[in-house]
């Protein structure tokens, strides 16, 4: 079928150690990349701006969170706050005339520094208590952003992003914003894919599996936990800035509140903790499926098959979203990535049934 392994013989170490050793995988990635690059040509403006763009950006955010939660095993329930720091930093810097390239970098650094404060809690506690600590910090950051008018301009104020250009291209058209988000997504994806193969990735996995045991075999858990928080918060901060500049174009504090954090964690979990493809599948699922199902139900109600009150209708997305989280945790705790993996393994040896890898 698609994954034909016959005739694939790796004769060099570099070939077996490449990212996608099987040609079919390389083809898939290539086709997807071409499709993504050509998206502004064949997609309507509506689809591009209200489905594709948020999906890309939230996938990137989920990948940043995956680095921390899936690979380093540090639970983080304040990631929306980290993204908010990045967004607000970049907007204020560009308002002062700093070019966007530099502003993105500073946004990342700012998030990373404050994110390391979150990490300071991780050095002392873990598991449930880390969830609490990060959750408390989420509320603190929220409060600071809302109440310090120099940052947000107040609880209900929106902050417009100024007109900026990235590498001499003005970020006015939808296509330009889309390509910036796509480029950042590619960078983060490659980074996360490759981190798994470095000593840093292996150290993070050791810390995740049992931090005391990792310390015994000589991994400096102090350093690696902080490093994980630093890198992940940096990526999250830049993603927050990209989210503000490419998608929202005007930020309010409520765009980064606790519900967004839950959404991000749900994306990581529904996709499958620690897998890269899971980040994309999970973000797409959590963002799009409630919309699709709601449309389906609205259509059913419209044709008279189903009678629902309006207040029920308004709350169905929330219920679907909650039920989806519960359903995945109960029936496929390893997430959509596992489902994809099962299908791929089946096709690898098709028409035979026994998988080897």
């Amino acid at each position: 079928m698609f994954y034909r392994l016959s005739g694939v013989h790796h004769t060099r170490y570099s070939q077996t150690r490449q990212l996608w050793p099987i040609p079919a995988d390389r083809w898939q990635v290539g086709i997807l990349l071409v499709l993504a690059l050509a998206a502004p040509l064949y997609m309507s403006q509506l689809y591009l701006s209200s489905y594709m763009l948020p999906w890309l950006i939230f996938s990137t955010a989920t990948l940043s969170l995956t680095l921390l939660m899936g690979m380093a095993g540090q639970l983080h329930f304040g990631f929306a706050a980290v993204m908010a720091i990045g967004a607000y930093t970049s907007i204020h810097l560009t308002r002062f005339g700093v070019p966007l390239e530099l502003a993105l970098l500073c946004a990342g650094l700012m998030s990373a520094v404050i994110g390391c404060l979150f990490g300071a809690a991780a050095l002392r506690v873990k598991g449930l208590y880390l969830v609490m600590a990060t959750l408390a910090m989420q509320f603190l950051v929220d409060w600071v952003i809302v109440n310090v008018t120099a940052i947000s301009g107040g609880a209900v104020a929106t902050l417009q992003t100024p007109k900026v250009r990235f590498l001499f291209v003005p970020l006015e058209s939808l296509a330009a914003r889309y390509y910036l988000a796509l480029a950042w997504m590619v960078v983060v994806t490659l980074l996360i894919l490759n981190i798994k193969r470095t000593s840093l990735g292996r150290a993070l996995v050791a810390v995740r599996d049992k931090d005391f045991a990792a310390a015994v075999i000589g991994v400096n858990i102090f350093r690696y936990k902080l490093l994980a928080f630093f890198v992940s918060s940096f990526l999250g901060g830049v993603t927050g800035a990209i989210l503000a500049f490419c998608f929202y174009k005007a930020v309010t504090p409520s765009q980064f509140n606790f519900d967004v954090t839950i959404q991000l964690v749900a994306m990581a979990l529904v996709g499958g903790l620690g897998s890269v493809i899971g980040g994309f599948l999970g973000a797409g699922f959590v963002l799009l499926v409630p919309i699709v199902l709601l449309n389906l139900i609205a259509w059913l109600a419209g044709t008279g098959w189903l009678s629902i009150s309006t207040s029920m209708m308004a709350h169905i997305p929330l219920m679907l979203y909650g039920a989806m989280i519960i359903g995945f945790l109960l029936f496929e705790p390893l997430g959509l990535a596992k489902i994809y993996d099962n299908a791929r393994k089946y096709l690898l040896v098709w028409p035979f049934r026994h998988t080897q890898s």
Partner: protein
């Protein structure tokens, strides 16, 4: 001075009302080691249940009694359907499961019964309680009394035969199994008891501020209470509630006018953070020693 005393008294009363919500979390954590992030939603469901039963014509106290039964069964159901399959899964999965339940119930309750806040009249009256030159909210005072009663009941319950089983389960699942205690049943019962606490909390908070989805926001102060008091300590829930309530009333009373509002959440967040950084297991919690 009387301003301070008024803040103090009202804060203490509010704090005891928080304890009522926190007690549900403590009961579940004590038996199963699961931190129940859906307790706020359970409180909301408890409030809705009482309201719906009064709508059907039951007098309020009868409605509360019936709601106790309903929510006890609801708690058992949650354990049976959701939590039992999650045994042995990593902590993040269980946290997310209860958060998912919270999101679901937040949509389910208001979706079924309408979003507008529901009045819940428990016959206490709106006139404030006057003690010297201090005014206190009468509903909160009744709620505080009920909270105290619940805590005493919970303490007594843990001295009964069933309570002893629950304590054994909280100490060690495997050892409990080996002496013939049904761990599943103990965990289920603790979820049922959390449902009972949710009805008490939902009724009193519903009477104080109306029943709607905003009751789920009680989760955050309740979490602060259990963190401060120690997640597995009933007395801790009581004292933690008092402290959080008083701090969350006195500090905003003086600071809010300076910084522009909602300092209460900040106080709560800071209490959580400082507790975790200084003494993670709280005032009365059990310190776990970890082995490789």
């Amino acid at each position: 001075m009387s301003y301070f005393l008024e803040l103090l008294v009202n804060g203490a009363l509010t704090g005891l009302m928080y304890s009522m919500v926190a007690l549900g979390i403590v009961l579940i954590y004590k038996s199963s080691g699961v931190l129940n992030f859906s307790q706020g939603a359970l409180v909301m469901m408890g409030g809705y249940a009482v309201w719906q039963l009064t709508e059907w014509g039951l007098p309020i106290w009868l409605a509360a009694m019936a709601a106790l039964v309903v929510m006890f069964v609801f708690g058992l159901l949650i354990e049976r359907v959701l939590l039992r399959t999650m045994v042995g899964q990593p902590i993040i999965m269980i946290v997310m499961l209860t958060l998912g339940l919270d999101v679901f119930l937040r949509g389910f309750g208001p979706g079924l019964l309408g979003t507008e806040p529901k009045q819940l009249d428990i016959g206490v009256g709106l006139a404030p309680l006057i003690m010297g030159d201090i005014l206190a909210n009468r509903t909160y005072a009744v709620g505080a009394l009920i909270a105290l009663a619940l805590v005493v009941l919970a303490l007594l319950f843990f001295r009964t035969r069933l309570g002893t089983k629950l304590r054994a389960v909280s100490d060690d699942h495997v050892s409990s199994w080996s002496v013939g205690i049904s761990v599943e049943r103990a965990v289920a019962i603790s979820w049922g008891l959390a449902g009972l606490c949710a009805v008490a909390g939902g009724t009193m908070w519903g009477a104080a501020q109306g029943v709607d989805w905003s009751l789920t926001a009680l989760l955050f102060p309740a979490v602060a209470v259990v963190i401060l008091g120690g997640i597995d300590s009933i007395v801790g829930a009581l004292l933690g509630g008092l402290i959080i309530g008083i701090l969350g009333s006195v500090i905003p009373g003086y600071v809010d006018s300076m910084v522009g509002g909602s300092t209460r959440d900040v106080v709560t967040s800071l209490v959580i953070l400082l507790t975790i950084l200084i003494r993670p297991y709280g005032m009365f919690g059990r310190e776990d020693i970890e082995r490789i």
